[in-house]
Point group: C2
Chain length 363, copies 2
């Protein structure tokens, strides 16, 4: 009986890693049997399967997905890349995707590209190198068709959300931006507004171009002559709206209503208008776009266009999963129909200005 034995603690960093063969040896079985058993194959006798699983548990076995994936060339990984996941608009899409993917045991790798093509390309490369099974992305501004094709040609199916890329034929889902913005502007026109500005966005994204087109179309349909100074371009976030406020207030005559590129822009604009001494929903009507969660509790509550983020996320995830299972799925973009949500911010009752306003409307 040996003396001077150094007792190794349970936490031994030098301990051999447990692998299939460790379990197989311990039980006098082959790795093939162990592998099958752990994946619940009916080829393995129930009793054997249980012994194997018990041994795996007891020994602290950790399945090595890299090894499995190398062999099977399936990784269980889905890459998801958007402009900025901290933006609630994308956040709501991601939440829906996550919910859908979760039940299928897929691992979900997220990335922001911040509209930097290099970042997006690095992400695509990473997905390729990790052997991701598929990818959902809201493409960065200026994404070349070649980047999407690179993925597709290397067995990495792509589904687009929120934006499109010219020249690629892959499934895509987003709201009907032109139609949605038209709904918003028509709502204001019905309420009697004739001087309607549009704040936020630029002409770089397909989304912004579509929304602007809807805005212009609604004006035209109502025979309202568009004034270039009404189009206040700017960042597509809260800050962009905030910064637009002083520029808007400087306009003369002051528009009586504003549609915004997004809810975030509208919320920022309302902060800015308040600072300028104007009360949104009283002195000036404000409409957002997206119907993010905050729209309802904002004060005044935000009139906006529900853009179907959850549906976009859900459909995109399902479409990708279906494609991975070999189903035939429609290529091309599917538009989600937007809905107007009327709340308080689009009200207008400028007690102090009313008279002048009325006069100038007929000027």
């Amino acid at each position: 009986m040996p003396t001077n034995v150094v007792s190794t603690s349970g936490r031994n960093p030098l301990a051999q890693k447990v692998k299939l063969s460790t379990i197989a040896e311990a039980l006098g079985l082959s790795t093939a049997t162990v592998s099958l058993a752990l994946r619940d194959s009916p080829l393995v006798a129930e009793a054997t399967r249980e012994r194997i699983k018990e041994e795996a548990r007891a020994s602290g076995y950790i399945y090595n997905r890299r090894a499995a994936s190398l062999r099977t060339s399936k990784s269980g990984i889905i890459g998801v890349c958007v402009h900025d996941m901290m933006n609630p608009f994308y956040g709501e899409i991601l939440t829906a995707i996550e919910r859908e993917l979760d039940r299928q045991q897929h691992t979900f790798i997220l990335c922001n590209h911040y509209d930097q093509l290099a970042k997006q390309r690095a992400f695509i490369d990473t997905m390729l190198q990790l052997g991701a099974d598929g990818m959902i992305m809201s493409p960065a501004i200026g994404t070349p068709a070649a980047d999407i094709r690179l993925a597709e040609e290397n067995d990495l199916p792509v589904t687009l959300v929120a934006r499109t890329v010219d020249g690629v034929e892959v499934p895509g889902f987003h709201g009907d931006d032109r139609r949605g913005m038209r709904l918003a502007v028509e709502h204001l026109i019905e309420k009697g507004h004739r001087r309607i500005a549009m704040v936020g966005g630029d002409d770089l994204t397909s989304t912004a171009r579509e929304r602007e087109a809807g805005y212009l179309a609604a004006l035209e349909a109502a025979d309202i002559e568009f004034k270039p100074e009404w189009r206040l371009k700017g960042a597509r976030n809260r800050h962009g709206g905030f910064e637009a406020a002083p520029r808007l207030v400087a306009l003369s005559p002051l528009p009586t209503a504003v549609v915004c590129y997004s809810d975030l822009v509208a919320l920022g604009l309302m902060y800015g208008l308040s600072r300028a001494g104007l009360t949104p929903g009283e002195d000036i009507a404000v409409v957002g776009y997206d119907d993010i969660e905050e729209a309802e509790i904002a004060t005044p509550s935000l009139t906006t266009v529900a853009n179907g983020q959850s549906e976009v996320g859900r459909l995109a995830a399902r479409s990708l999963l279906a494609r991975l299972q070999g189903e035939d799925i429609p290529l091309g973009t599917q538009l989600i129909t937007p809905t107007l949500r009327i709340r308080s911010s689009s009200e207008y009752r400028p007690f102090t200005l009313q008279r002048t306003e009325a006069a100038s409307r007929h000027a």
Copy 2:
């Protein structure tokens, strides 16, 4: 010369995948040389290296990280798991982590656990199975020490942010919540407030407990007797603040000031107060916590406590990377010193109520 040749298009899904050996054969070299060359090893002659890289580019070679990782047991993956990345507080931490990790060529896998232990455990398992190099997490409520130890014992070093887990000795970084909340409350007391409520949070997270402790400590130091009805617990988000507003307004006498669990809670509360007809920063002083970006443009601009999210993220990422490189790093939690940011929401000039307020203060 053969006739009837079927031309294969460039886009051939059946094309053999290009691997190291494909390049090696094409160039009459060994895979060892190709492997070294692609990783810029000085062991390979410059000219050979260039030929190899050119061939890799031309053939559309995609590096197989699973294979490499299986061999080297390094994956280049860092897992990051927080309660909810759409929350700007975590968003700002994540942004800082990302910035730090990016320059080191690490792939960043993100996950929300939504304070669900099962989700968090699934994430840890996934990281283990993918052979992640390390992990940064803001642990879910009730995280057992065993979950962290499981990771650590299987070669997955963990760094904590924002929250702590009792019974584990790993590096952690977060703001000094008790001190920060004390700063906030002392600011209000200095301005003459004696009835100060605290809105949002519960006693489930270490963060909330610390902040509440700071609140109570500041009251006690000023000889103000705490009234239980001043502590309005609730969700740690915008909605939680919004919902607290009616409960707050129902208090009699009405507190003249409120500190909130977070900026999000404060912003929601301000929305709610406005609906109740109270103007934050005039009829009632409001203070937030975190100093998220929106605090500055909110109207009224939000007085708050800068909680060092960026520093937390940066330090956590650096600490983890240092540890991965074998450096000795301090275990245990490092507190970031918070700073008060005085803006408009903590002002108080209740013109209509002034007289009664003054009276009741001396009651």
